[in-house]
């Protein structure tokens, strides 16, 4: 039976979309600081948001490898679009998909698959990030449900979201076992959102604080069985890290491609600067680290697809690919010389956006601690 290879086909298809629709307007979108709603809807129309979910439940029937391929390509075009799309596919909708009621599925999950509703994931607090045990947002049980009080910060999509998946403590005495996820629609009384943060990179991704003040929700809005919030989060942590690695690969590719192009055109002392060995060394390092990042990342995604535990592999991929992307973006600005300092050129955007990758899915300081422990230290 002759059939196409879905990975090649979907990569080529996304690459064409990025080349035709995203890259030509990426600089202008970034400069405007406005959320690219039109592009976001187009990505939704292509069925991207359902890539991780089965077809018979409103998804597109793909897997983690395809999810990462798509977002690597999107990140090559515009990191803020890729980041929001990645959130839509994974953290924003995963718990709703697995643990939501039929009504939530129809009214929120399916519209989110089309890009008609925007989800977000509220985990970080002013005093709690990687340290989940420090989460203080409280969901207190009442006779007819829960009352949520607390504050979340660095909420991607916070200002534009239609619904939130919120990590809350239900019993502080139980520490990590007291953490649970809750579904909170935006219009629920007591939900308030701050002004969007001014950020260094991914400037069109809206991030904010979200405050919950006496927010009443029914029992069925708890997503998952009580006490399993952390284990449910751990079940997608490898995927979050592999996805972040894929975003990094996209940014690395963009940095390298633009640097190569510039090095071929820019003349110094009578010849293109790409003819000088110090420039060649920078490109050689980017190219080598790109290949290494690809191998680490797509090994992890294949393990996820095979349902093989791979938190170590995904963590290493995220750590390595992101560091490589940050380095490549930095080197690209140096290859551009003073033009790398100009807002007119793309490399300054890559440099700023690369910093976004350092924090999502765990800071590298925490990741390195984990990796050292897994190495036997």
């Amino acid at each position: 039976m002759i059939r196409s290879n879905p990975e090649h086909l979907i990569r080529d298809s996304m690459a064409r979309f990025v080349d035709k629709e995203v890259i030509p307007q990426a600089q202008q979108i970034d400069a405007s600081g406005e959320f690219p709603m039109e592009l976001f809807r187009k990505v939704g129309e292509m069925g991207v948001f359902g890539i991780r979910y089965p077809r018979n439940k409103g998804g597109s029937g793909g897997n983690t490898t395809l999810y990462c391929i798509i977002h690597e390509e999107l990140a090559r075009g515009l990191m803020s679009l890729a980041a929001v799309s990645a959130m839509q596919c994974l953290m924003g909708t995963n718990f709703l998909f697995h643990f939501g009621t039929q009504e939530m599925h129809e009214n929120f999950f399916l519209p989110a698959m089309k890009g008609e509703k925007i989800p977000c994931f509220c985990l970080t607090e002013p005093e709690a990030g990687s340290d989940l045990g420090a989460v203080t947002t409280l969901a207190q049980r009442t006779k007819d449900g829960f009352v949520i009080n607390g504050m979340k910060t660095w909420v991607t999509n916070g200002p534009i979201a239609d619904f939130y998946t919120v990590l809350c403590q239900t019993d502080p005495a139980k520490k990590l076992r007291g953490l649970n996820f809750f579904f909170v629609p935006r219009e629920t009384p007591g939900v308030s959102v701050s002004q969007p943060f001014e950020t260094l990179g991914t400037r069109t991704t809206r991030m904010s604080e979200v405050a919950f003040t006496n927010v009443h929700i029914p029992f069925e809005f708890m997503l998952g069985r009580e006490g399993e919030g952390v284990s449910n989060l751990m079940s997608i942590l490898s995927e979050i890290r592999a996805m972040t690695a894929a975003l990094a690969i996209g940014l690395l590719r963009a940095s390298m491609a633009d640097a190569i192009q510039y090095a071929k055109e820019r003349m110094a002392f009578g010849r293109p600067i790409g003819r000088y060995q110090l420039i060649q060394a920078k490109i050689a390092n980017m190219a080598t680290e790109l290949e290494a990042a690809r191998l680490l990342t797509y090994r992890a995604t294949k393990m996820i697809d095979d349902k093989t535990p791979c938190l170590k592999e995904a963590t290493m991929a995220k750590y390595f690919a992101t560091e490589a992307a940050c380095k490549a973006a930095d080197e690209a600005t140096r290859i551009f010389g003073a033009y790398g300092y100009s807002m007119e050129y793309t490399v300054q955007r890559y440099y700023r956006d690369s910093r976004f990758l350092l924090y999502g899915g765990g800071t590298h300081e925490v990741l390195q601690t984990n990796i050292a422990r897994w190495a036997g230290l």
Partner: protein
């Protein structure tokens, strides 16, 4: 309104490079795509389907890897695909290709319209569509950039001419060749692409026997023309400053243009100057 769309897999480049020794296309590093005009033809068929319903079948002739353009067509919204692949089809000129495509179209079932791109970027002949219409014995409209109306019996289109356009009404079934200004092809949906990669995907694969043709009628053997040599023309700019009086310089310029191996227009210009 059921349609068949002929699509070709071509290298993704408008700057074809040939190996100077063999004359063959250098394919290394080149991706393959649906021929751009064919993507517009597919979009035209899908737009009609969106408005009036019906079924769209994408049909391609090529090596086995041409399955990718069929799958991409399914991703864009085609309902079914047919791949014509057989070693016997190799080396076909437009005569043999159009004959093979026409025979395959007759196998596909009922249809009202056949859509084709104006021409392929790797061959640039613009002959396949009109020839297929001839083999099928149906009316054709080439260089179409707008469909004005369709009813069960007729289609009215606008076709581009050098100095304007022509409105044309054809009875159905008919064949339309489409130019790029007609529409913007949609991007494939990932769920449809994935469905198109599955074993159960509605793709049929036909060989010569399946469409009832003899090997001597198709491919190189069935071709009326044979390519003897392929080469890249050499373009070399040579500057030459003519010196002397105005009249002698102009005369020499005209003589040089007449003797040149360059474009016909140059020689015609030189002859006109002499008159």
């Amino acid at each position: 309104m059921d349609s068949i769309v002929l699509i070709k897999q071509v290298p993704d480049t408008t700057e074809v490079q040939l190996d100077p020794k063999t004359g063959n296309l250098i394919r290394e590093g080149l991706k393959s795509i649906i021929n751009p005009d064919d993507a517009h033809a597919l979009e035209a068929a899908l737009t009609l389907k969106d408005r009036f319903g019906g079924k769209v079948t994408a049909l391609s002739m090529g090596p086995m890897q041409a399955i990718d353009v069929i799958t991409e067509a399914l991703g864009m919204g085609a309902d079914a695909g047919v791949l014509l692949t057989d070693r016997a089809f190799a080396g076909a000129d437009t005569w043999a290709t159009s004959f093979t495509l026409a025979r395959a179209i007759q196998q596909v079932g009922s249809w009202d319209l056949v859509f084709c791109g104006r021409q392929a970027i790797d061959g640039d002949t613009a002959q396949i569509g009109p020839q297929v219409a001839d083999w099928l014995g149906i009316p054709q409209a080439a260089y179409v950039f707008a469909i004005e109306s369709v009813n069960p019996k007729h289609i009215t289109v606008k076709r581009r001419l050098e100095d304007g356009y022509e409105r044309l009404q054809c009875r159905l079934p008919a064949l339309i060749t489409v130019i790029g200004e007609m529409n913007t092809p949609r991007f494939p949906r990932v769920d449809r692409l994935l469905a198109g990669c599955r074993e159960k995907a509605p793709i049929r694969v036909f060989n010569a026997a399946d469409i009832g043709v003899k090997t001597r009628e198709v491919g190189l053997e069935g071709s009326l023309t044979h390519v003897i040599k392929t080469f890249a023309p050499k373009f070399k700019r040579e500057g030459k400053i003519l010196e002397g009086g105005k009249e002698s310089v102009v005369r020499e310029l005209i003589q040089r243009l007449k003797a040149s191996e360059g474009a016909t227009a140059c020689r015609a210009f030189a002859s006109a100057c002499e008159l």
